[in-house]
């Protein structure tokens, strides 16, 4: 049995980092992730970890320091949010293309502007094409568990890609909730030591990291990254299986909540999934077959598995906490519908942009989406798939 505790999502992430005890942490504070490096720096000061803590002057430097540390052969972590991630964007790509398995908690917050400190997923979606493995977490427990599994996935020799663990800013990062922690020794054994195959400080094998890479080979290197991302799917599942043996907590590419026999399903990520589960239970009591697909692994995107899981559903709603301003739906919606098309699945599907800038998402909001879906099932028609949930001045969810 683990240790019964109550922690905020940020505290839980900092404690995971303490148990991982990485060689280097380089970070710059930004709301709402500030507490993570703040707590962690106290662990450093109190001798709880032997990490080299680098108090950098910007997020660009935080990621650069992590890149340097990982290239040298050590295990490096950082944490950020929102514009902090935007500021490190250039280096985020360098990290993945240099195949450096940096691990970064990302406490999701709206990208400015105008200035907003609250939750949505516009920061995470800004790096969806950056070659990072992206895990999403419903609550403090999942943020913690995902971090404990992170290095095993990222550092796997068939993967070697950086990884970010997302959770919702304030909603879970600042909410104190029950959590079950794993004993320090067990985490230490599970995470293990990092022995990179190639690293700068290996005097027996001189290498270059990040040299010029033009027409001759950049394409091949991108293809290798693609292969690594594909491999990650299998590794994520293998690591999850081992994690389940240790903790009893089971993780997949996504969680299916009453999905197998449902008529109407919602696809979403992070804390909204918990609220949706409450609504699913309420609807089930009324005899309505509602279900949920909570995506955990956004990168690599499990297109085949998602299409299969949704194959018997009569209508689907995909909730996006990011407005990609394409004028035709958010990123999760377009990827889910693309997965359906490629897998010859034709289920009526609508996208809902919601929760932007911290707009609270209530059980009533979620219920209204299921009501919309029941209407789709009844009429067999989706008049407008590009919908908006909870925006002022837009009636009827923008249908």
């Amino acid at each position: 049995m683990g240790i019964r505790e109550r922690l905020s999502g940020n505290e839980a992430s900092a404690i995971a980092m303490k148990q991982i005890n990485p060689d280097v942490v380089a970070a710059f504070p930004i709301t709402p992730s500030t507490e993570i490096p703040q707590y962690f720096s106290s662990f450093v000061s109190n001798g709880k970890v032997d990490t080299e803590f680098v108090a950098v002057e910007s997020e660009h430097s935080a990621m650069s320091a992590c890149i340097g540390a990982e290239a040298a052969g050590s295990r490096a972590m950082t944490a950020t949010s929102s514009n902090g991630l935007a500021y490190m964007w250039e280096m985020v790509h360098i990290a993945s293309s240099s195949r450096l398995p940096i691990v970064m908690p990302l406490v999701n917050r709206a990208i400015s502007g105008p200035l907003n400190i609250h939750n949505d997923h516009s920061d995470a979606m800004g790096i969806r094409d950056a070659g990072w493995i992206m895990l999403f977490s419903e609550n403090n427990q999942e943020a913690y568990d995902n971090l404990i599994m992170a290095h095993r996935i990222a550092e796997h020799k068939d993967v070697m890609l950086p990884l970010t663990v997302c959770q919702d800013g304030f909603i879970t990062s600042h909410s104190i909730e029950n959590i079950e922690l794993i004993e320090d020794e067990k985490v230490k054994e599970f995470v293990g030591q990092y022995h990179p195959e190639h690293y700068l400080l290996n005097s027996k094998e001189p290498i270059a990291v990040g040299p010029m890479d033009l027409q001759a080979y950049l394409f091949e290197h991108k293809y290798a990254e693609h292969q690594a991302m594909k491999n990650a799917k299998k590794v994520i599942l293998e690591v999850a299986k081992e994690f389940e043996k240790m903790t009893g907590r089971s993780y997949g590419l996504f969680e299916e909540y009453k999905l197998d026999d449902c008529d109407v399903a919602i696809v979403c990520m992070n804390s909204t999934a918990g609220t949706t589960k409450v609504v699913v239970d309420e609807l089930r009591e009324k005899g309505i077959k509602a279900g949920l697909l909570k995506l955990r692994v956004f990168r690599p995107f499990p297109q085949e598995e998602i299409a299969k899981a949704l194959s018997k559903v009569k209508a689907v709603a995909v909730l996006d906490k990011a407005e990609s301003l394409s004028s035709c739906g958010g990123p999760l919606f377009t990827e889910v519908t693309s997965a359906m098309y490629v897998n010859n699945l034709n289920v009526p599907t609508a996208g809902y942009i919601y929760g932007i800038g911290g707009r609270d998402t209530t059980t009533k909001d979620i219920s209204s989406v299921y009501e919309d879906l029941l209407e789709v099932v009844k009429t067999g028609k989706i008049n407008n798939p590009y919908r908006y949930l909870g925006v002022k001045g837009v009636k009827n969810n923008g249908i």
């Binding site: 919702d168 909603i171 879970t172 600042h174 909410s175 104190i176 029950n178 609220t275 409450v278 609270d360």
Partner: protein, 193 residues
């Protein structure tokens, strides 16, 4: 959901409403409950109205939204009654606890004719007597425990002794005063409706 209690705190920045909600979560956690304690963050400044929330349940809590239909409301500063709709969504079967010296006739219109139970406590008097200073959150914490019956008074006081020892490790001289504030508050609370 019947076994879940939802509480909304109204206070002003600097009065410790957020801390009180976290201490309540702590105390309920220590009696084996599932808990949530979270503030609604806005522009943080002294004196600005703030809201904090608690959910306390015997089963795991999955919902992640603010609380719109609370069982209990705690008002840490009665000047908020004129600017914030503190009884919004408050269940008629629940109760509101107000730090105030106003009498029932004055309070009634401010509470928009709320029909449920109304409790008043002079947290200033309690705090100044016990601590020599005005920290309204400690008395209000005791008041919500007494009214909501989330745990027995004895369980609560025992648990808080431990929490204060931890929280005030660097200034142990204030532990006794805070414990006294809790005990006095339990006595000082009056049901006015």
């Amino acid at each position: 959901m019947d076994n879940m209690i939802e509480i909304r705190w109204h206070g002003r920045g600097g009065q410790g409403a957020k801390t009180a909600s976290l201490l309540l979560a702590d105390a309920a956690f220590n009696t084996g409950k599932y808990i949530q304690g979270f503030p609604e963050y806005g522009p943080e400044r002294m004196g600005a109205p703030i809201t904090a929330y608690n959910r306390i349940s015997t089963s795991p809590i999955r919902i992640h939204s603010n609380i719109y239909e609370p069982d209990f409301v705690v008002v840490v500063d009665d000047s908020l009654l004129e600017s914030v709709n503190v009884t919004s969504g408050l269940k008629q079967t629940g109760a509101i606890i107000i730090n105030t010296t106003k009498d029932a006739n004055l309070l009634k219109p401010l509470l928009k004719d709320y029909k449920g139970k109304v409790y008043a406590i002079d947290a200033r008097k309690v705090s100044e007597e016990a601590l020599g200073k005005y920290f309204p959150n400690t008395p209000m914490l005791a008041a919500i425990v007494k009214v909501s019956k989330i745990m027995t008074e004895e369980e609560f006081l025992n648990d808080m002794k431990g929490s204060f020892k931890h929280k005030f490790a660097k200034k142990p001289e204030v532990i006794e005063g805070n414990m006294k504030a809790l005990e006095l508050a339990m006595q000082a609370i009056i049901e006015i409706q």
